[in-house]
Symmetry: C2
Subunit: 165 residues, 2 copies
């Protein structure tokens, strides 16, 4: 199963695509869509939406995963992030990809085994689970990969439970 | 100048297109994009984005206007609305339309002449300003038309001020 994970942000939106059988995960692509903070917000949303569309076209994921809405730092930040998330969900739905949504707690528990893990630990475990020589450079891309891995694990668990029934 | 006004909502997104010279306004189109509340949120965002895209293709507006983010009823509602607004801004930016953003206070002041006007008053004044025989049926479409009229008035004022300089 090929999975796209997205880590939404108005300045930097991370993405990561993995191939996974639910046990082993392989990195296919990871990166960050950056936007010019001096540009009008709607143009930045356009950059993010088009960027995600390109990633989807280029990597052909079969499913997608994003984090749920957030323990917001403050309301204005949360509202901005929700705009970006709207554009991301639109891009995913436009491509017809089934979507998984997970809380930050679920992602960290799934990847690090501990819901209150720090960003650095997530980055290192993502690196380890994907058997990379070194962590992906961007924290945002690592977060996106973590969401994708979480989705892979959860989907595999779900399939195993269905078989066991 | 042909202007698209949008009134964002996850269940009902109103739109209205007017032709305006800054003094007289003429109704070209108005309606509501409704979404199935039982469907996943991302599919509803897709319906809204595609709906707005169709309106833009069909009516060929030159500019667009939306309300700013809101004196939110509650945080969850505001976050949902911000997702929809993100998709609307994306559709507007994708079509290359310049965007105007106005507070509810500005819209009401521009259309009714009173910032605390009630929904019904906005609906009646919109009807009157567009010289319609009766108010447009949907409140959401009327709100969208009000935003478009506000943008028309503001743009005309701006042009007059520039000429006067």
């Amino acid at each position: 199963m090929r999975i796209l994970g997205i880590d939404c942000g108005s300045a930097r939106t991370g993405y990561g695509v993995i191939e996974s059988d639910g046990v082993a995960h392989q990195l296919l692509a990871a990166g960050v869509i950056t936007t010019d903070t001096k540009k009008p917000f709607e143009e930045r949303l356009l950059t993010i939406g088009r960027g995600l569309r390109e990633v989807i076209l280029g990597c052909a994921p079969e499913e997608a995963a994003v984090e749920e809405v957030f323990h917001a730092v403050n309301v204005q930040t949360a509202l901005k992030l929700a705009h970006v998330r709207g554009v991301a969900l639109f891009a995913v739905a436009e491509a017809g990809l089934p979507l998984g949504e997970y809380s930050a707690l679920e992602v960290k528990t799934s990847v690090v085994g501990y819901g209150r893990a720090e960003k650095r630990q997530v980055q290192l475990m993502t690196c380890s689970l994907l058997r990379l020589d070194r962590p992906v450079e961007s924290e945002d891309a690592a977060d996106a990969l973590a969401v994708a891995i979480c989705h892979a694990n959860r989907s595999a668990l779900k399939r195993r439970l269905e078989v066991a029934r």
